[in-house]
């Protein structure tokens, strides 16, 4: 019998009899002869659980993970410690196995989580409106582009050269049919340059905070020149305990990658993207939004709301096509934020700031290392090496230290998490020195 099924031979006979057909094949009568497969699928026979486990374990063992080396890899995803209570809660079948809460009466748990999540994202970003998650970071940037384009009816996107390249690429791919164009904003010494109000053909300006090279952008300054365009900031939510909120600096849309909030690396996913915006954009938001309400007995409850934005109601007029998003990962996010807590978010941010500056100073003191820029940083910084950075990464990795992400020819992006101690940083300095000697 196929794994995970229960139809015994007796069951099958009884069921076929009830249906009134002779065989299961009769049920597929509508499939024209010409398109029937007519042979078994060319996929190996099923294996016992222990063998599937062994196969997957052997594959996993072929990877060098953050468990196996001292890793300073970041560039969009970060090896933060995921507290155990997240596993414990996410493994509850009541969160793991249901689908979108279409029936609110039996989905209050999930709906309240969305509401709490939206509140947390709103607090972090300083923006009043958050949806309940989108896929992940770069596609959230693209979704912000779609919103800006449909909202402003304008066709130009200004993108900082220091926006994460994946975000730029995703925006470019996704907008292929929109009739929009992308223009780059130059970056000097780490900072996005904008010194006059943008033209009124601009739908949106895209900036990273911190940006791809780790620099803290002066969002308030950029905001002054946004004109009638929407200012879209891609933020790292974990830094928002120490960095000014995008909302207070006049940002219209703040999106980003939520992986840093209690989600595993998972070779890139699943994580979640967050999407927050100003009040004016509420009815343009993509994706699910939960809202508070009451039931017929006056009890507090939560529902999916503003659904007329969505694809299943408005179809071709929807604000987005998104349906399945990342509810479980967003749950991890809100648990993580509760675990960190109000003080913890700040403490962790401060720890990262201190360790990151320590690391930058320590590495910059090595012969053959220059700073890519000298702006303040929070958790990541870019260096310019005297040798090919890809080769340097290989050299160090072979010694058990993954020094970070090599970009261009000589750029190295070094990320710090609370799992990288001073000792780890000092070890990196040692190995990097050797590599550059």
């Amino acid at each position: 019998m196929s794994r995970y099924t229960s139809a015994t031979e007796t069951d099958r006979q009884e069921m076929l009899a009830a249906i009134g057909v002779e065989s299961i094949d009769d049920l597929f009568a509508d499939v024209p002869e010409g398109v029937r497969l007519g042979r078994p699928l060319d996929i190996a026979p099923g294996k016992p659980e222990q063998e599937v486990f062994a196969r997957l374990r052997d594959l996993a063992a072929k990877n060098v993970s953050a468990e196996d080396e001292i890793s300073f890899l970041g560039a969009g995803m970060y090896d933060h410690y995921v507290p155990a209570l997240i596993d414990s809660i996410l493994s509850r079948s009541e969160f793991l196995t249901p689908y979108t809460p279409y029936q609110p009466e039996i989905s209050q748990g999930g709906l309240q989580v969305m509401f709490e999540y939206q509140t947390a994202i709103s607090e972090l970003t300083g923006l009043p409106v958050s949806n309940a998650s989108v896929y992940e970071g770069p596609s959230a940037v693209a979704a912000a582009g779609w919103l800006a384009h449909t909202h402003t009816k304008k066709t130009k996107f200004l993108v900082s050269e220091s926006l994460h390249p994946h975000s730029l690429e995703t925006l470019a791919t996704t907008s292929a049919g929109w009739g929009t164009t992308i223009e780059m904003l130059p970056v000097v010494n780490g900072l996005t340059q904008l010194d006059e109000v943008v033209g009124d053909d601009v739908a949106a300006i895209f900036v990273g905070q911190p940006n791809f090279h780790g620099a803290i952008e002066d969002i308030a300054a950029l905001s002054q020149f946004k004109g009638s365009a929407l200012l879209v900031v891609q933020a790292d939510p974990l830094t928002l305990g120490v960095l000014r909120s995008p909302g207070e600096d006049g940002v219209d849309i703040c999106v980003g990658e939520g992986q840093t909030l209690g989600n595993r690396l998972d070779f890139g996913g699943p994580s979640f993207g967050f999407f927050a915006a100003s009040q004016a954009l509420l009815r343009r938001m993509p994706g699910r939004i939960a809202g508070e309400t009451t039931d017929v007995d006056g009890r507090r409850g939560f529902v999916l709301t503003l659904q007329t934005r969505e694809q299943h109601i408005r179809r071709e007029k929807a604000t987005s096509n998104i349906c399945t998003a990342q509810a479980l990962n967003a749950l991890a996010g809100v648990i993580y934020l509760s675990w960190l807590g109000r003080e913890g978010l700040v403490e962790l941010g401060e720890l990262l700031v201190s360790r990151t500056h320590y690391a930058r100073e320590t590495l910059a003191a090595i012969d053959g290392v220059e700073l890519w820029h000298d702006q303040p940083v929070v958790r990541e910084f870019a260096l310019k090496l005297s040798k090919n950075a890809h080769e340097v990464v290989e050299f160090c990795s072979a010694r058990g230290v993954n020094p970070g992400f090599a970009f261009d020819d000589n750029g190295l992006l070094v990320a710090i998490t609370e799992q990288r101690s001073k000792a780890d940083i000092d070890r990196l300095a040692e190995v990097l020195k050797e590599a550059l000697a």
Partner: protein
């Protein structure tokens, strides 16, 4: 109060997190960048966080507790092995930018999955990148655009049947095309004449689900493919219903150029309350140059790599390589079932659906809830609540709410749109005959009860954590975050 939020349980000074020691000199950010007031996150210790979410979880219905015949969502059992293998540190702590040489296990897994998915769809080139079905659809529309434009062919319209999932038209719009609807014939299939009339050289693509959302396999599929290809358009397969046909027929063999899979449906990633999912696409040779990059490839020496050198690729649709954690589960599923098991899964999904329909007939449920198309179905089927509404004054919604009191998750309601008071029922292959019988009995019981006193169902549910909620009020005066 059971609906207290975690913010309402917060108290200044409480905490769960203990920061690692500051082992380097303290560094402060310049004041102009520093946040003045910390975000008002909860302040709460671990025991109460755990209790809070534990209690919330008990306010959710879930697949591991009961039958969840949500049509078009394929709520099949989520094998527990999958969580174990996805959590292995070699997967869970693998950074997506790890040098491919040192992520050979992950790449081999992805490549093996690509090969298996390609075989199932009958289309050899698989891009795993899209994050969900709708994202896969977008990928499909974008590669269609790239395919046409690469030949200097600039088309403006995409056809979607009126039975399509809402994501199809929404995707078409986001892809920059005009939506043109195609009608449905008396058998529940594509209205061939309407299709022929609308298929012209401005049509870039027809997006089709087969079996469609009526649970009907379109027997004219060869003719449809001929018409679509005849005008130079691509034929796109919405894989939401792939669970009906694995090993029986393949989209590629039916003539489709592009397919998306919902790994969370057919390949049983837990739905997570609304994600994560994954929506890989498979394409034919002529579409292959355009699919996303990077692409996982197997090199001649047997190792695996990420191929970024794809000059005609549409580019990337998201960061990194896709929802790898979902791939692990899907691959485990394919290894566990094997080719024969996948085929049998589809056979039993179709058997279960037809049996449930037969049982509903036997119990007289279909007198008031007739099938929209009175014939054999595939893995799901649609009932119309119109007679019930007429005779008993009960709407499909009332029936759905009353099912909650019977501890069943209701089917999909009011979809597909072209069936009045629709009820879309998909039992999946992992349910037992006893469960199907019990569900059918509950349906019959609700109708019996409704004939006596329709008020009971109209005011249902009763035994749920909350009862019917004021959705209109919620939308009118949206409270979408807690004021703190």
């Amino acid at each position: 109060d059971h609906a207290k939020t975690i913010y309402e349980k917060s108290k200044p000074g409480r905490r769960a997190f203990v920061a690692p020691e500051l082992d380097v000199p303290k560094h402060e950010l310049p004041a102009k960048f520093r946040r003045a007031e910390a975000p008002k996150l909860p302040e709460i210790a671990e025991p109460e966080i755990v209790r809070h979410y534990n209690r919330l979880s008990k306010r959710n219905f879930d697949l591991d507790s009961g039958f969840y015949p949500l049509g078009s969502c394929t709520m099949k059992h989520n094998p527990k092995l999958h969580e174990r293998v996805a959590a292995l540190p070699g997967h869970a702590r693998l950074h997506p930018l790890t040098n491919p040489k040192r992520a050979q296990g992950a790449l081999e897994l992805m490549h093996s999955l690509q090969v298996a998915l390609g075989e199932i769809a009958g289309l050899p080139h698989v891009s795993l990148q899209p994050s969900a079905g709708s994202h896969g659809e977008l990928a499909g529309v974008l590669v269609t655009r790239a395919y046409h434009e690469d030949r200097g062919d600039f088309r403006t319209k995409i056809l979607t049947p009126d039975t399509a999932h809402g994501t199809n038209p929404a995707t078409v719009t986001m892809g920059g095309y005009e939506v043109v609807k195609v009608g449905t014939n008396a058998d529940g299939g594509v209205d061939i004449e309407d299709l022929r009339a609308k298929a012209d050289d401005q049509v870039a693509c027809l997006m089709l689900t087969n079996p469609n959302t009526l649970g009907v396999f379109d027997a004219n599929i060869e003719e449809i493919a001929k018409i679509v290809h005849g005008v130079g358009a691509t034929l796109y397969y919405d894989g939401a219903n792939l669970n009906a046909v694995m090993g029986k027929t393949r989209p590629g063999d039916m003539g489709f150029d592009i397919v998306h899979y919902n790994l969370h449906k057919t390949f049983t990633q837990p739905h997570g309350g609304g994600g994560p999912g994954a929506g890989p696409i498979a394409v034919s040779d002529r579409i292959e140059p355009y699919i996303t990059k990077p692409q996982v490839v197997k090199l001649e020496d047997g190792t695996f790599d990420l191929d970024f050198d794809r000059p005609k690729s549409i580019g990337r649709l998201r960061g990194f390589q896709g929802n790898f954690g979902v791939f692990v589960r899907s691959y485990a599923y394919i290894l566990s079932l094997g080719g024969d098991g996948l085929q049998e899964a589809s056979e039993l999904a179709v058997l279960n659906a037809n049996y449930l329909l037969a049982k509903l007939r036997e119990l007289g449920v279909t007198d008031l809830l007739p099938p929209a198309y009175d014939r054999l179905c595939m893995h799901e089927f649609v009932l119309s609540g119109a007679p019930m509404k007429r005779e008993l004054g009960l709407k499909t919604l009332d029936l759905a709410k009353r099912l909650l009191d019977h501890n069943f998750h209701p089917p999909t309601v009011y979809f597909p749109l072209l069936v009045e008071e629709a009820l879309l029922i998909e039992p999946t292959e992992t349910e037992t005959k006893e469960t199907l019988d019990a569900f059918a009995e509950a349906m019959a019981e609700i109708l019996r009860e409704g004939a006596e006193d329709p008020e009971i169902a109209r005011n249902a549910p009763y035994g749920t954590p909350v009862r019917r909620l004021d959705e209109a009020g919620a939308a009118k005066r949206p409270v979408i975050r807690q004021p703190l």
